[in-house]
Amino acid sequence: DTSLAEVNSFSPSMPISPSSMINQYKLEDEPELRDLFITVDDPESHITAIETFITYRVVTKTSRGEFDSSEYEVRRRYQDFLWLKSKLEEAHPTLIIPPLPEKFIMKGMVERFSDEFIETRRKALHKFLNRIADHPTLTFNEDFKIFLTAQAWELSSHKKQGPGLLSRMGQTVRAVASSVRGGVKNRPEMFTEMNDYMETFSQKINVLDKIAHRIYKEEREYFNEMKEYGPIHTLWSASEEDIADSLKGVASCIDKCCKATEKRMAGLSENLLPILHEYVLYSEILMGVLKRRDQIQGELDSKVDALANKKTEKDLFSEEIGKLEDKVECANNALKADWDRWKQNMQCDMRSTFTNVAENNLHYYEECLATWESFLASQTVDLHVEEDSEDKP
């Protein structure tokens, strides 16, 4: 059902850069323990009569027994990722499912199919699949396996199975209904704490995201002005004789610092900005997970209340209530475990990202320092030579 008409491959091959390869492994568990390696690359554009869309190549290498083969290569589009995410949420309502890149970035002048947008999305999709692969529970999810291995037609037929749209809507309605009633009343202390934490965290991470983008913008403007600054000195050196060399030296120093600034900016956009953005999305997801837990609790609570009112049909109710109690306990435990895990990862990610930014800054200043110091050395050597030659009779 994919390309009926031309398959138009427009992008130059975008191999994954070495640094992001390392990031892939840095995600969490040591490489030796991993048995599932996934890469997302090679975006291709497809034009049909109805629409234009992009597919990405998903390559999976695994040593797991439950996989029939050890290598798979499939093509997936954004819709497919959305489907996977919703299936995972359905199956594990109180697990923290990793964030997907947004559908369409409204801010900025990013065109829907611009190279920059596609590359950012590709990296995020790559992260998404790898985070799932690293998750102790989600990694064994059946839909996940199908996503990684099925051919296009297989996937679309599999998608059509499962609870229909109407029943899914029914679930949502019930969930909304029970959320109105609560689940907050009997909420264990731990989850209230989590909620408070997430509210503050969400606030802070959003502000950080904004600040980081602002800094990137300011650095870009600084870079643009600096580009003009160096050449003026070269222009000046053309009218001078004695100080021409010094002026040219200053010009080259400024240009070198300019390049260093470019590197610094690239570091920001490759590392800090995507991570902060990911955690902005994570904070939304976590709030959602906490709500769902509350809903499940709410179902139980409302049934318990109903029992208190209806003195009859105790047996029926108690069986239902027993089931719901189990459900709540499972949900709570799953969430607690996943929460701890998420927290750890978050700290690890933050630490490594900020350290990376700090290192980049250090390199930047070291480079600029070296440039100016060597200029200074060359100038003072000249000065001494001049002084010596002046002393000579």
Partner: protein, 387 residues
Amino acid sequence: MEDCLAKKMEITVSEAEKRTGRNAMNMQETYTAYLIETRAVESQSEGQCAPVDSLWRRYSEFELLRNYLSVTYPHIVVPPLPEKRADFVWHKLSADNMDPDFVERRRIGLENFLLRVASHPVLCQDKIFYSFLTQEAGWKEMVNETGFQLKADSRLKALNATFRVKNPDKRFTELKHYSDELQSVISHLLRVRARVADRLYGVYKVHGNYGRVFSEWSAIEKEMGDGLQSAGHHMDVYAASIDDILEEEEHYADQLKEYLFYAEALRAVCRKHELMQYDLEMAAQDLTSKKQQCEELATGTVRTFSLKGMTSKLFGQETPEQREAKIKILEEQIQEGEEQLKSKNLESRDFVKSAWADIERFKEQKNHDLKEALISYAVMQISMCKK
């Protein structure tokens, strides 16, 4: 350079003070007065300190002094004053003349001006300059009594008026061209520098926003708390450091500005020469035409077409007496003219010689100063990186 005033006397502009007074139109105004302190160097021996003389001057008096020097020594590249109004500002710098930072930088600039004049081999010997430093009362009247304003050629005020000089001195033309280039390149540089400073300021200050967020975030974290706290603290320090950095850079900008204005002074010397040359050529032309007229009258031939020739053809020739009288007048004029031309030629040659000497001196000074400035800029960049 041994008899330079600078060697004999310590000169400083040590303070600035806001004053209110009444101006020429009897309106109240606020202005800044600067304290000039001088102390003789020679009489200093071990432990014995010479007494300090001091007086107050305001910017307009400095301007008067400089105008006097420019007119009185047209062949000298007279050191420039610091800018009258703040120019090439970036957004944090105030363009207000009363702003303390501006006043401080102007104080340094005025001191620099006095030191430059005092170390100039010719200018330092000027009596008006000396009294500027030592005599508070009655100085203005003294300057005006020299009548220098009459000498000032109003034609020079028209900055872009060109005088069509038939035989321009190539060296001066090149020099004028150079001074134009220097002016244009330095002002371009200062403009871009101001923009760069603005942007750099922005980058640093936004980092400051991190400080608060990190510190607030650290409150909800247990394990990462300390790390975040110290990161936040460093961000604050980082953001604050830009103020000092840019203040130092302002000093560098001032050094460049001095040479921007020096370029103007250089150009002025070239124009004065141009004017002189023009006058010379005009005088020579005038002389030639008078000589021709004389000859025509004497020989009775009309060589060139002239109104005189026409009228004499139409209305008859003049009487011999008239002609004699005319010839006599012309001959006198011619003699005057020849003397004038001679003296002008001499003047011009002197001008060129002394101007050229000063220009060479200026060039050396400029090269030395600019090189030092560039070096100190590098040093500043280095210290900024080290921070």
